[in-house]
Amino acid sequence: MYYAASIAILITMALALIRAMSGPSVYDRVLAVNMMGTKTVLLLSVIAFLYGRPDFLDLALAYALINFIGVLAVLNFFQNAAARNAVNKSSEN
């Protein structure tokens, strides 16, 4: 029963990886990474039950939290890059 879901998750991970590699824009890649993160959370939850060790859901929880921080760090990076470009341009003018 869990197998069906986990196979679907694994295939989706592969698809997300394809998107992460092919791009084309950086945002596509961030999207793919985020997707990969959520899929990992699901995979861990499912496998925890597959192994009969529901106490390992802690891991999935930790991933869910860390993933969010990762995306915000990327966002912050973009914003800073934009700000830097603006500063550079104004200093050039």
Partner: protein
């Protein structure tokens, strides 16, 4: 069946690694490294290494990505030179060939008769309930049987943090200057939704970190993971509100005190063992009942690990972020 999952994930891992090497865009490479870590963590989990998976997630996908991005923000995004240097492949191929050569005599994956499972390890599994009486054998080894290694690990992190402080300096301008609204010191203050949600999440992350810290004896987790998680929460705050507010919440002096305090606590617990008549890092003598002593000792040193790791991660993060403000 699950073995096949592992094979599938490993294949993805190899593909990701190829992509990381081939892409000239460093930002993309960092993103792919995040994926690499997530895959790695899933594989660890499938191979029964729950604690390692948790650490890899907190470190690889969390802290490491943040650090690489901070460094990228201060350097360049594109890799310019692509020098082929083909002869350099020779040592690489030699190393790989050697390893493949060695695999012919290696025990296969999961072989219960492998030498690794015959010596030492069964002792840990058998004696932990009796000698230390905590369910998580990994924590028992980490904290007590091989606690000296963990002591070293704490000091490795401390050394790295000291190095980053020495290289990048720690002095900040007290508060970020309010003149530049778009400057990075502002964080994501203009993004209302992430900001509201982030503020909502931070207490939960800290709470979860504390849970991981003190639940480490019963489930996956422990001082290192907890320290990284709590540090991640503060980093989240810094991302959302900017450097200045984050430093008022957790000032630099507190961070430095945490770095030093946790490490000192760990050594002091070890020395307490000597004072009370045992060997270095012998927790059995801490209390009258040896098992209770082990409990106390592991609790204290895990606390030391958590505090130092959290302090070090924050200090490293702030050191990078402070450069950004200049």
């Amino acid at each position: 069946m699950i073995v096949l999952f592992g094979v599938f994930l490993l294949t993805l891992l190899v593909i990701t690694a190829i992509a990381i090497i081939r892409t000239p865009d460093l930002f993309v490479a960092v993103m792919l490294t995040g994926i690499f870590s997530l895959l790695m963590a899933s594989i660890f989990f499938i191979l029964d290494a729950a604690d390692v998976a948790l650490t890899e997630a907190a470190v690889g996908a969390g802290i490491s990505t943040v650090l690489f991005l901070s460094a990228l923000a201060l350097t360049e995004q594109k890799e310019r030179s692509i020098r082929p240097g083909r002869w350099l492949a020779v040592p690489v191929v030699v190393a790989g060939a050697l390893i493949v050569y060695a695999t012919f005599d290696k025990p296969r994956l999961g072989d219960p008769d492998a030498p690794v499972h015959q010596h030492v390890a069964p002792w840990y599994l058998e004696k932990t309930p009796e000698l230390i009486d905590i369910p998580n054998v990994v924590t028992a080894i980490l904290g007590s049987f091989r606690g000296y290694d963990t002591l070293g690990e704490v000091f490795v992190v401390l050394t790295a943090a000291i190095g980053v402080m020495l290289l990048l300096g720690t002095r900040h301008r007290k508060a970020a200057s309010p003149v530049q609204p778009a400057s990075s010191s502002d964080g994501l203050r203009h993004h209302l939704i992430p900001r509201v949600l982030g503020r909502l999440l931070i207490p939960f992350i800290v709470l979860f970190g504390l849970y991981v810290q003190f639940h480490g004896e019963y489930g996956p987790g422990g001082g290192f993971q907890a320290g990284a998680l709590v540090a991640a929460a503060v980093i989240l705050y810094a991302l959302l509100e900017g450097e200045g507010p984050a430093l008022t919440v957790v000032p630099l002096s507190a961070i430095t005190a945490m770095m030093a305090g946790g490490a000192v606590l760990y050594v002091l617990v070890g020395l307490a063992g000597i004072v009370l008549g045992g060997n270095f890092l012998d927790y059995s003598v801490l209390q009258i009942d040896p098992v209770a002593g082990q409990h106390l000792g592991i609790l204290l040193i895990e606390l030391g690990v958590g505090v130092t790791v959290c302090g070090c991660m924050l200090s490293i993060f702030h050191a990078f972020a402070a450069r950004d403000n200049r």
